[in-house]
């Protein structure tokens, strides 16, 4: 959806909402993070002050409680007015008719203050069913100190996969020659945020265009085979070797010199690495099979949605705009989570000047590219995510990276399992 007109300022929205709130009204708002609820406390107080008679009742809980809870509320027709929505679930929630199409509420208002590609993530089958608050993208984290020591150039936009392999080999160091490198060139396991950026940057797809079935294309197979070869060649550890270590700490502990994962890991890196080494971020290199049409950046968004159970949709939409626009400051977005409101993302504060990495602008550049989430209904089941993270494609890829299964067998098993789920 192309949205190019001028942005409505927040104060005008709040006034409009104020008019809607002629009498005492309670808006209910549920989200999956108690930390985020604390961050938003002041913004919600502002909203209530600007809308006399309106009270926003906030319920926050961990994700493991959130989804069963809102699902039960959906079943009983008691969804809150506004709810947090994940890219991973938005399709099935929209398909079930639980999310209101915001387009009529948006009307002629311009959304150009937002990252257009992030807004598009909330658009399902032509309906704007959710609105982004922040978005994240996987990036290639690299250890500059290790690159300097190996005499390598830093990754740039023109890096090829072969250059990546050469760097991974050079960065794998077994100084005591005991067969276990103290520093590997790379770290990868079957998690979506680690493998799928390579797949999508190679023009690969797991599912058919309508998302109804798993059909892993050759570009995806080639990308996964490339990653498996990096592990088989000993430039990345087998995942079973790293069991017991928090996977997001492996790069920060200096055990791997490169790592691809979501940009939200920037905060953890900053805390763990401190000044012990220099590090930066780069975009995942474009694959050899990709074309201008098929190569996409992988990204997903945390969004807010107005539910179809809401009886005060104008006010609910005003709250969504209030919490996704300029009200929250850059400090309210933990490192690597990009505010959907462009101006906030471009502040020096969010760009983290004076901190590592010194090239946060790169994430903003990714946001200007065509984005692809790869999510389908039941994604968490077939991909293997959260409490189902040991199964699905995730579990099968770990078998490949652990050297226990061929890639073909693993993909056959994952496809059969995924299609069984999608057909149910």
């Amino acid at each position: 959806m192309k949205m190019t007109k001028t942005a409505l300022c927040t104060s005008a929205l709040i006034c409009l909402a104020g008019a809607a709130a002629a009498q005492d009204t309670t808006l209910t708002y549920m989200l999956w993070s108690t930390e985020q609820a604390e961050i938003e406390q002041a913004a919600i107080a502002d909203f209530e002050a600007a809308n006399p008679g309106v009270t926003v009742e906030v319920q926050a809980m961990p994700p493991s409680d959130y989804w069963p809870r809102v699902s039960a509320l959906a079943a009983s027709g008691d969804l809150p007015d506004v709810m947090a929505m994940s890219s991973g679930f938005v399709q099935e929630w929209a398909a079930a008719g639980n999310l209101m199409d915001l387009a009529p509420l948006i009307g002629d208002a311009s959304l150009e203050g937002y990252f257009e590609s992030a807004v598009e993530i909330g658009e399902i089958d032509g309906a704007q069913v959710a609105f982004p608050q922040n978005w994240v993208a996987p990036v290639l984290f690299y250890n500059r100190t290790a690159f300097d020591a190996a005499g390598l150039d830093y990754p740039d936009a023109d890096w090829t996969w072969e250059e990546f392999r050469t760097a991974a080999e050079a960065l794998t160091i077994d100084a005591d020659d005991d067969g276990t490198p103290e520093q590997y060139g790379f770290w990868v396991y079957g998690r979506y945020a680690q493998t799928d950026p390579w797949v999508f940057r190679n023009g690969g797809r797991y599912v058919t265009e309508d998302g109804a079935a798993l059909e892993i294309n050759q570009e995806a197979v080639n990308a996964l085979a490339f990653l498996a070869s990096i592990v088989d060649d000993g430039f990345a550890p087998r995942p079973l070797e790293m069991e017991g270590i928090r996977q997001q700490d492996i790069f920060g502990m200096g055990m791997a010199a490169m790592w691809v994962d979501g940009s939200w890991n920037i905060d953890n890196n900053r805390a763990l690495i401190g000044d012990s080494f220099e590090w930066g971020i780069a975009q995942v290199p474009m694959g050899p099979d990709a074309t201008a049409e098929t190569a996409v950046a992988y990204a997903w968004a945390d969004m807010l949605a107005v539910t179809t159970d809401s009886e005060q949709t104008d006010l609910a939409w005003a709250l969504v705009q209030h919490l996704t626009g300029p009200t929250l400051s850059a400090a309210d977005y933990t490192g690597g989570k990009v505010p959907a409101w462009t101006a906030t993302a471009m502040t020096e504060e969010w760009l983290g000047r004076g901190q590592q990495p010194d090239n946060m602008d790169l994430i903003l550049e990714i946001g200007t590219q065509p984005l692809y989430t790869g999510f389908t209904p039941n994604w968490s089941a077939w991909r293997g995510y959260a409490a189902a993270g040991s199964g699905g494609l995730n579990g099968e890829l770990d078998e490949v990276f652990n050297g226990r299964k061929s890639l073909d067998d693993a993909l056959d098993a994952a496809t059969a399992y995924g299609n069984d789920i999608l057909s149910r």
């Binding site: 989804w67 639980n98 069991e243 993270g389």
Partner: protein
């Protein structure tokens, strides 16, 4: 001899008791008066039982014949869910994992708990410290202790592999190798639960007449012989009780799996209870999860029936 005058209690239905030995039927009103307070006191429990147990159990049975993603419409699918469970390779793998876990956990926890109980009942009889120490894992928060076990099992930096390395045994990827993940869950489960069963068995041991041991000792029976000829037979009722509890618990293992392996690697440690959780509260396939729950119920029922059938052969009444 004093004569006792018996008074016949009139039956409100007009029937007079024909003999003094026939119990008089209390009038209806007085019977209600007897039951009403009891019912009132029982009412909260009955309502709770109905609302939170019996109605959901019945409802889940009905749901097991439907396809219901929690916020979609309910669709009747007959026996499709059960047919899928029987034919799906994933379900069969999960059922196999459940049986394999039971085969490791039940003998393991019984051997450890009997050993601890006998030790505490004899050699360490007066030691409240050891009794408390062995019981402690049972009352400790599962997630907290499981995090400690994750470190113990860590492939590269784990205590267990460090100790194995001292005797030249290669590192084992306890939690990442499909062959070892389920045994690792069983080890932690046995460690955690053995203290509870130990307490039950100590209670059983303390009912055994010490005179029997004295007599056996006088007859020249050694410790081993006394254990097999006296302790085991006379402890068999407690052992039977522990066996039933352990069998049921083995099919319901969840928390340790969730925190230790998340059912991995590649579902190698996913057992039925964890699979039900995944289907119900991760994928929200309530109909399918309900069918799985009834399969679990059937498995537990079958094992329990089998046990009661075999009981006569080894339980000393």
């Amino acid at each position: 001899m004093t004569e006792i005058a018996l008074t016949r209690v009139p039956d409100p239905r007009g029937r007079v008791p024909v003999s003094d030995t026939e119990p008089a039927v209390p009038p209806r009103r007085s019977r209600w008066k007897t039951w009403a307070p009891a019912l009132l006191f029982l009412l909260p429990a009955i309502v709770g039982l109905l609302v939170f147990r019996l109605i959901p159990i019945g409802w889940a049975f009905a749901l097991s014949f439907t396809s219901w993603r929690i916020f979609d419409d309910v669709a009747w699918v007959g026996l499709d869910n059960y047919a899928h469970i029987l034919t799906s390779p994933v379900s069969r793998e999960v059922l196999g994992n459940t049986l394999w876990f039971t085969a490791m956990y039940v003998p393991g926890v019984m051997i450890v708990s009997v050993t601890l109980a006998v030790l505490l009942n004899n050699a360490l009889r007066s030691s409240a410290f050891f009794r408390g120490a062995f019981f402690l894992p049972y009352i400790t928060a599962t997630v907290a202790v499981t995090l400690a076990w994750r470190w113990i099992f860590s492939t590269r930096f784990g205590l267990l592999n460090h100790l194995l390395g001292q005797v030249d045994i290669d590192r084992i990827a306890w939690l990442a190798d499909p062959a070892w993940a389920l045994p690792a869950v069983a080890i932690v489960s046995v460690w955690k639960d053995a203290g509870f069963y130990m307490i039950l068995l100590i209670a059983g041991l303390q009912t055994i007449n010490p005179g029997l041991y004295e007599a056996a000792r006088v007859d020249g029976a050694g410790a081993f012989r006394r254990f097999y000829a006296i302790t085991l037979p006379l402890l068999s009722r407690s052992l039977f009780f522990v066996l039933i509890l352990a069998l049921v618990r083995s099919t319901q293992t969840f928390e340790i799996t969730y925190a230790l392996t998340n059912g991995g690697p590649n579902r190698a440690s996913t057992t039925l209870a964890f699979y039900i959780y995944q289907n119900a509260f991760v994928h929200f396939e309530m109909g399918y999860a309900s069918a799985l729950a009834y399969v679990l119920c059937f498995v537990i029922g079958l094992i329990t029936l089998l046990n009661f059938h075999l009981r006569r052969r080894w339980v000393h009444e």
